[in-house]
Structures are given as C-alpha cells and as structure tokens.
C-alpha cells in the first residue's frame, strides 16, 4: 500500500507551498516494528517523514477535533483512509469542525494488519516487519515468517465495506474495489444467540483484563467531550477502581455514546494495551443503526444522524 506515499508527499508539499494548509496530519514510521506514529508535518523538508502502510491503524480524525489548531480556524490537511474520512465527516455533521477547514487527502485502503495476531505467531518479540505488496515479511530472533496480508487483517478491515473515503478533496490513488457482505454482522449474531446469562458472562470476561487506561476512549475520534463522564468528580458518576461493576459501566456507557456515530475504524481495539476487543460493544449498535435506520455513520455531509433527527414518517411504532 506504500505505493501511494509519493503521491501523498507531493500533494502535501504542494498544499504547503501554496499556503492552502498549515499542517498535514499523517503517519510516520514508528521506532519499533509494526508501530506507526501520528505526526503533524508543517514544512516541505519534513514531508519525507510521512508514510502509509498496513500498520497505520489509528484514526487521524482524532487529531483534528482534539488539536489546538482546529480551534484557531487554521486549515489542516489529513491523510485519510476510508474510516478516517468517515470520522472527519462525522466531526463535520456534529459541528466539531467545518468542511472548509479540512483538506482531505483520501487514501484507498486495503486494510490494516492485526498486530496482536501477528505477535501471537511468534514465541519471542518481533524485530523486523516489512511489507511488499500483499506480502508481509516478519522476523524475530527465532524465526522469519512470510504471510499474506489478507490472512492477518484486523476483523474490522475484513468486514469493511467503505475502504475508499466517501468525501475527499483529492485522492492519492485510484479507489479500491468495495465488497458487499451477505452477513456483515455474523459476530454480533453469535453473541445475540447466547442466552442472557452466557451473554453477560461473555462481556464480563471480555473486560476482565481492563486496566482503565482509557486508551480505547482516547483513541476514538468520537470521544471529544471536554470532560468525560468517568472524569467528572462532582458528582462522580462512576467508581474509579477495578470493581467489575465500575469497569463494566465505563465500557457500556462509552459504547452507547458511540451509537449511530461509530464507523468501526478499530482504533479502540488497536490502542488497547490489554488486547480487549472493545468493538464487541459498538458492533451491536452499528448493526442496530443499519437495520433500524438504514444508517452508516460518516457517509454523507447532508444527512442528520438517526439519533438527532425526528421524522413524522418514522417506521417505528414506538415513536408515534
């Protein structure tokens, strides 16, 4: 996927030269294998820092709403794969930023790799990671593996139906083919099929390793509240400790705050140091948004999200 990087850099250099944007938010290489670091580039000389590959799994829309520049009306370019762009659209729909403040450098995405899955193929720590087309070459002190990228894609990328940015100012490459899925929510259906006790136990077990670092929340572009409910101290809505009820309360409420807004970008899972698949919570809400309202977040600048609009011809009886 690195093939479009030269185009990204050229676009970025041009934007800076013309003074159309002040900074370009993108990814740079990390200091360890499989790490990508979000970076803000503001000079042509730094353009070489920009990279784009299958490890760029965070969502850069997160850096727009929470960036001090965004409040000053400065124009920002963002290197955006499908989900980043959808979250930029969501920011605009939610009035966090204006369309003319953001220049979207769209990147057609062939998916991000599941770093945990790759790490689990090794007994020791990974020392090298290289990507050549659809092939990944990964090394540790003990062995070297060549794997197909499609075999180690993150789950959200496997089920992604919007790899191309739906809204952009320029594309860095030709769009990639988009898939349609017969059963886009098989994972949710499996959980829904459990009886209530088993389902409860499933979610309790899911979060048992949670350390409440809030990386899932902070990696999420949707979580831009000035003060999160878990950080309120007066009143304090939720206990601060490792009590399972408090841990669960955080996860449930975080998920519900994402209802009808989540793009399933997977940044929350990517950020979690404890390997908790927190998407298990939001996936059900995405399914409901799609099935009840025909809604997928971040596709359209003109439409209002289902949870902030009332329609007299709402098909649901309960609202009438």
């Amino acid at each position: 996927m690195d093939t479009c990087i030269e185009k990204i850099r050229a676009i970025g250099a041009d934007l800076l030269a013309k003074g159309e944007v002040e900074i370009i938010i993108g990814f740079s290489d990390g200091s360890i294998p499989m790490a990508a670091r979000p970076v803000a580039v503001s000079s042509r000389d730094d353009m070489e820092k920009l990279v784009f590959n299958s490890t760029c799994g965070l969502n850069l829309a997160n850096y727009v709403s929470k960036n001090s520049l965004s409040g000053k009306g400065a124009k920002i370019a963002v290197v955006a794969k499908g989900c980043d762009a959808r979250n930029l659209v969501t920011h605009m729909v939610e009035n966090q930023i204006s369309r003319d403040q953001i220049y979207i450098i769209g990147v057609p995405c062939t998916g991000m790799v599941d770093k945990r899955k790759i790490a689990s193929m090794f007994e020791d720590e990974i020392t090298k990671f290289a990507e050549e087309g659809d092939t990944l070459i990964i090394e540790s002190a003990l062995k070297k593996l060549t794997v197909k990228k499609t075999d180690v894609l993150r789950h959200n990328c496997q089920v992604c139906t919007h790899p191309n940015p739906p809204v952009f100012d320029v594309m860095a490459a030709e769009p990639v083919a988009e898939q349609t899925l017969d059963q886009p929510f098989a994972d949710v259906d499996n959980i829904a099929a459990m009886d209530p006790e088993a389902r409860w136990a499933y979610f309790q077990e899911l979060t048992q390793n949670c350390i409440r670092c809030y990386a899932c929340r902070n990696a999420c572009p949707l979580c831009y509240c000035p003060t999160c409910f878990v950080d309120e101290s007066s009143p304090q809505w939720v206990g601060k400790g490792q009590n399972q009820t408090d841990v669960t309360t955080f996860h449930f409420l975080r998920a519900f705050h994402c209802a009808g807004r989540c793009t399933d970008c997977g940044a929350c899972v990517e950020a979690c140091p404890m390997g908790i698949n927190v998407r298990e919570f939001t996936r059900k809400l995405n399914k409901d948004a799609l099935e009840l309202f025909g809604w997928e977040a971040g596709l359209d600048l003109e439409k209002r999200p289902p949870l902030d609009v009332y329609s007299p011809d709402d098909p649901n009886d309960f609202i009438k």
Partner: protein, 350 residues
Amino acid sequence: MNFITIDKNDWAAGIDQLKKTYLVFGPVQDENGCQIKPLAPDVQPEMGAPATVMSPKSVLFPQTEKILTATLDESSKDHHIMKPVDKNDTPRAVLGIRPYDAKAVQLVKLNFDNPDYKDPYWCDAYDITTFVGVGVNRPGPCDFSTSAGCGPFSEQGLDVLMADLDDRYLAKVLTPKGEAWAAACGFDTPADTAESQTLFDILQKEAEKQINTAISTDNLAQKTILDLYEAPFWDDVAFSCINCGTCTFVCPTCWCFDIQDETKHQTAVRFRNWDSCMSPLFTHHASGHNPRESKIHRVRQRFMHKLKYFLDKYDQGIMCVGCGRCVASCPVNIDIREVCNLMNDYQKDK
C-alpha cells in the same frame, strides 16, 4: 551467596511444595499474552514467557487496594471510624520476573519507604515478598535496560537470580529471603560457585550484546530544570499523545495513586487506586483550576518526573529501568528513549 542447580523435571514439584507456605505469583498465559498473577493451585508459572504487558508492581501495589473500612450503622458505637482491613500476611514469592522489574521495586521503595514516609501497605507487602528473577537470554527490541542502570542479568532487588540453561535452572541465591524460598521449594542441590559465576558472566555478556538500543543520561543531572521545562521540543513530543494512561499503568516505576471512599449500604471503604499524570483529573484542583490543563503539560510532566525531578531528588539515577513496556504498549509510539536523548542532548542556546 551460593548457587544451586534445579533440574527442570523437579521444578513443578518444588513450586507445588512452595504453595503450601507461600502465596505464589508468576507469569500466566491468558488472551493477552502473559501477566504476573497469583497462581491457582493447579497452575505452574510460564517461566519462559516473553515480557509481560503489565509489570509485577501490582504484587506490592495493587491497582485497587482496600486500605480502611468503617461501619455507617449509627447504632454501632464505632460508626464512621475508619479501621484497618484484614491483611493477608502469608509470605509471597514472585517467580519468573525479569531483573529490571526487581530494580524497579528498589526505585519505588525510595518513595514508599524512606526516612520521611513509610507507606504501611507497600512496606508490609514488601517485607513478606521474595523476588525470584530469571536472566533474560534474549532481550527484545524495546529492552534498553543496560543503559538504564540495570540489565538482563542485574541482581539489584532480587532475592534469587536464575539462569535458564535449557534442561535446568542455575540459581544464584542472593539474600536470606532467597535461601528461605529455596528451602521452601526443597531445592538444595549445590553448584560450584566459580563455575556457576563464569556461566552467569558468559550468559550476561551474550544477552547484553543483543541489546542494541541505548539512552544517554550523562548530561541530565547538570541541566537546569527550567531549561528542560521550557525546551522547544515538548510540542512535537506530545503531538501524537492521546493522553491515555497506558504508559503509566504498564510502567514498573510509576507509583502515583488516588484515594477514594465508597459506601455500600452500611459499609464505607477507603480504597487507593493507581492514578496517572496523563489524566487531567490528576491535577484538577477543587477551585476548578488545573495547573496541567493541556496534554503537553502532562506529557512533559511524565518525562520530567522520570528523567529529571527523580534524579535530582534522590540522586539514584533515572526513574526508569529500561524495560520498554511503555514503548511497546503506547498506542501512538511515543518512545521514552528518544525523549530521554532529546533531553540529554538539549542545549538551551542551540
């Protein structure tokens, strides 16, 4: 100081015997790799496990620890009076930790056990805990312990240092606690001291050779705090930070905590929980003012504390043992090695 040899075929039986008198902690495999946890009766420690995501600091300093309790029942004459909770004073043994984690305990000790303050909870736990480390034969790419005041075979803070020799462990017993641990396991086959030490030296050299990343700390002490505080690089360092608490929670030397009171029905409990300087709430004053209101302030605080304030206050090196956990777990790859070198190299008038 003496050496004993432990046949791996005898290891499990020894640990089972140890469990009769000790509460035993060790690396346990779960969905997220290995964690240091109390071992269930039928569980053996995963001694060859890769570095654990979380450090073993929770053995002495649990993420949530009940410290005091009171009854709210006003018919009871001691209602609303906080009292100590029952403690488990069974001796604890922590098996299979990496040497840098034992060094980290010694750094944390400077805070919890010093002439001015003695934290009763931490000190009591420390007194009954035995640390049994295993030398790291294959340090990973995030390990920079050799330049952070310890190394893959460092003995600091350990009661026993073991070397993994495929079919057996060679154990260097370093303290009386270590001797008691070996006796409790029934490990008593002596090994030749000179030969064993030579083997340890060889393994240590081999391991240290594999660590190809280092920090420089030699200039930090002579820098003035304000120069570093006002250095121009903090904006860049902090840009990618999402202000989660991962780095502080996985760190073996981060010791900050918060006290919380909770009530349920007629019982009040006072807990202490890990806190994190990455959280805005950490410094949020009752007045509403927050002296570290932006993430740049908080990121700077974390690195200044670890690499400058601590060093200035205790003169015991930096508050980092080079385990690399924060590097490995940071969602946005903020690398303390780079920040340390930036600070160490910084010249104000450059």
